[in-house]
Subunit: 318 residues, 3 copies
């Protein structure tokens, strides 16, 4: 199995989409695709991470992402150690570095980190000897989410990324998912658009390499895929969004707004969803339209692929 990806993947970490070149991405997606086969996932790959230790270091709660990595690591035979660290116990930058030193001395092979501060995983990666995977840092990046979204699209469009026009909609400004996805989908040749109210689109978004729209009708026109983002509840207090009801009226995805996109357009959402806020239930639950459960399923496989690639790079296998 170690040679299942032909390109020599030599990255030590998975911190940011910006660190990867297209061949890296192709290599990761191919490994992810390999693990989409459930019989492969469950039975024959135990030795890939045998004897290796994966530490899941989460400074923010995220059952979904943490369990996805835990499952991926175990199915590859790793020892998985979950460390949930309350934000309250981390008051100073020093403490993060002490945590890094402590962890490093336990000699893990792979450290998966979620942290509320942008750049925390990158900082940790300079202080530890193991591979670091960014599982979401502040409003910066969430590269494994972007990779699993890309793998989901590769499956849905038979690998033809160049033919995909995709609108990423909602709270772009606070979304690490959007930041990672724009970069990755651009690299893969998709036509990427950002759609949302002016208060939720960063002022420099025109330099991200995506066209910006402030209404769903023109933003979704001709789109093959509509990716909705989660609206954090704390944004709905009036500063960014007048009310849930008004937000849904203008930006929530329902049948009418989906009608602006190309016939047969598909819908994505990184989860967990706020039903009736950014997406209606009849869209979310329609298996002919929604790729949402595929995204979760792809998530475990893609993370197995990422773990496999980093482990091979550690061992000098390409």
């Amino acid at each position: 199995m170690a040679s299942s990806h032909g390109y020599p993947f030599e990255k030590r970490h998975c911190l940011s989409i910006a660190d990867f070149h297209r061949p890296d991405i192709e290599s990761l997606l191919s490994l992810g695709e390999h693990y989409l086969d459930l019989s492969v996932q469950k039975s024959s790959e135990r030795s890939v991470l045998a004897g290796k230790t994966l530490v899941n270091l989460f400074f923010e709660n995220s059952t979904r992402t943490q369990k996805s990595f835990e499952l991926a690591g175990r199915r590859l035979g790793a020892d998985v150690i979950n460390m949930n660290v309350a934000n309250s116990s981390v008051k100073k930058g020093e403490t993060l570095l002490d945590t890094a030193a402590t962890l490093n001395a336990m000699n893990p092979d792979i450290l998966v980190v979620r942290h509320g501060a942008s750049g925390a995983p990158a900082l940790l990666s300079q202080k530890v000897e193991c591979s670091v995977i960014n599982a979401g840092d502040g409003m910066h990046e969430h590269p494994t989410q972007a990779l699993l979204d890309a793998l989901t699209l590769r499956q849905a469009f038979n690998g033809d990324f160049g033919g995909i026009r995709i609108a990423i909609c909602g709270d772009i400004a606070h979304s690490r998912v959007a930041r990672s996805n724009v970069q990755l989908l651009n690299m893969l040749g998709c036509d990427v658009r950002l759609v949302g109210p002016p208060t939720l689109i960063p002022s420099n978004a025109d330099r991200w390499g995506a066209d910006v729209f402030h209404d769903m009708e023109t933003g979704l026109a001709g789109c093959d895929v509509v990716m909705m983002l989660r609206l954090q509840l704390e944004r709905m207090n009036g500063a960014f969004v007048p009310s849930k009801r008004e937000y849904f009226h203008f930006y929530g995805l329902d049948r009418t707004k989906l009608g602006f996109a190309k016939p047969g357009a598909l819908v994505m959402h990184p989860g967990p969803m706020n039903r009736g806020v950014e997406i209606s239930s009849d869209i979310a639950d329609d298996p002919d339209i929604s790729l949402i459960t595929q995204q979760v399923e792809t998530g475990v496989a893609m993370r197995m692929g990422i773990l496999h690639a980093l482990s091979d790079a550690q061992d000098g296998i390409a």
Copy 2:
């Protein structure tokens, strides 16, 4: 090992005692008994759940039950993933179904669920493809507790359920343990009684197939076994029970009240105990009388048996 139970166990789930017929129960008890041998439990059965994933999804805290399933799963070689979900994060029925969809996309093989709402595990079982085990749902059922209690009795009475008169005592109304046990013990041919104050016996209890008593003296007369239930502390605020002291006086099991039962009668309790409320310490700790620690020990073995049976049913092995 796969053929250690002769009857073709074909159930996909373990949701309710009501779903089982007596041959199912016999098959489960025999497998549970097989795992009572600690050398079997600890060393030779790793392959039964090898490559399979067990998710422990607990919406209510329960160290005892969750750890019993975790241990059972690991001793059979499964990957065990614990997911503790605070009730606070589950505000709408939709969210439970989203949780189900997310879990299902991670492709577990067995989902163990505890939830505060009656019927939640059954609802989940309709939305996922894996086997679901009810680890306690509201005031509805707790079938694995009833099975482990039955296995404990089978050991104590050499399999002769027909000869057992058993009184289940205390807060019957709010007890899922009582509901599952009455059904199972009736099916196995025991003579089952319910004993408790009128405020803690449901009005339809006479239709459960058990005689109802409101005092311990007549209720325990001639009983071989006295099963005490835990009195939830929130019942002691006066609405159901005047005071702990008065409750113990009338319904707490001590030497005097145990004297109403048959000489040599045995005592059970699902734990954790409120000592001095529903049971006195000298009864609880007397190894000649109390089966309480045997119940815990039997719990791991019985759950190994249940996991084994469901796994075999998945694989088409009978």
Copy 3:
């Protein structure tokens, strides 16, 4: 591997340094040293605890110690079950014994216990059949910390404990680390000193077999090693220590105070550190001076050694 320690280690538990004789300690340190080799630790020793269950029962939070034991257990092939029990749920001594009975009925092989009450692990060890390891009990003992500190010193001083003069500094009164270390370092032949303000030195410390000093200048004179203790934040409210600033001025380890010790003196700290309170960052982070990360690294290896020794003793292997 089972015979890697020549002396017949026959202890069932690891509760207190006071229970061990010097050959026991030598045997444990040799096993710990064996596991310092990371390739040994990660790849070849999976069978030592295969089929055995380690329960990590923590009544006090301690990510560092718990994860160290979890990692040690997993690297030896054990099933590791973490049980974090909030102090709030333990209101009566009875409950601890009920917890013990419940755990015992699950048939673990090794129970690692941290508890806020001195003597709790020893009490548990009388009620369970498995081996018990004290991972810190109140202000009493923390024997595995003392063993890992001794192993760290053995590495740093090529086994020549007799040549080491060591000052243990700070909050001696409330420190289980100090209590265990004084006993162990005395047994190994070190010259041990205690340094701290009178409010933080117990009145009977002169009978511990260590000289007591109340100022750093005379206390550190001629020392090869300075071991700083963590000052619990709750001690800084004025009853024991006037203020953090004043504490650091008199007892915090900086370059000036380290200059009182022997040239080339090394520094230890059990972690987590209060930087700027008991130790300055430039000392803590200087790899030529600080053994602090080595202590963590040694911690996993030493705990593997302890688990190995107890397991061998269970199996009658010496």
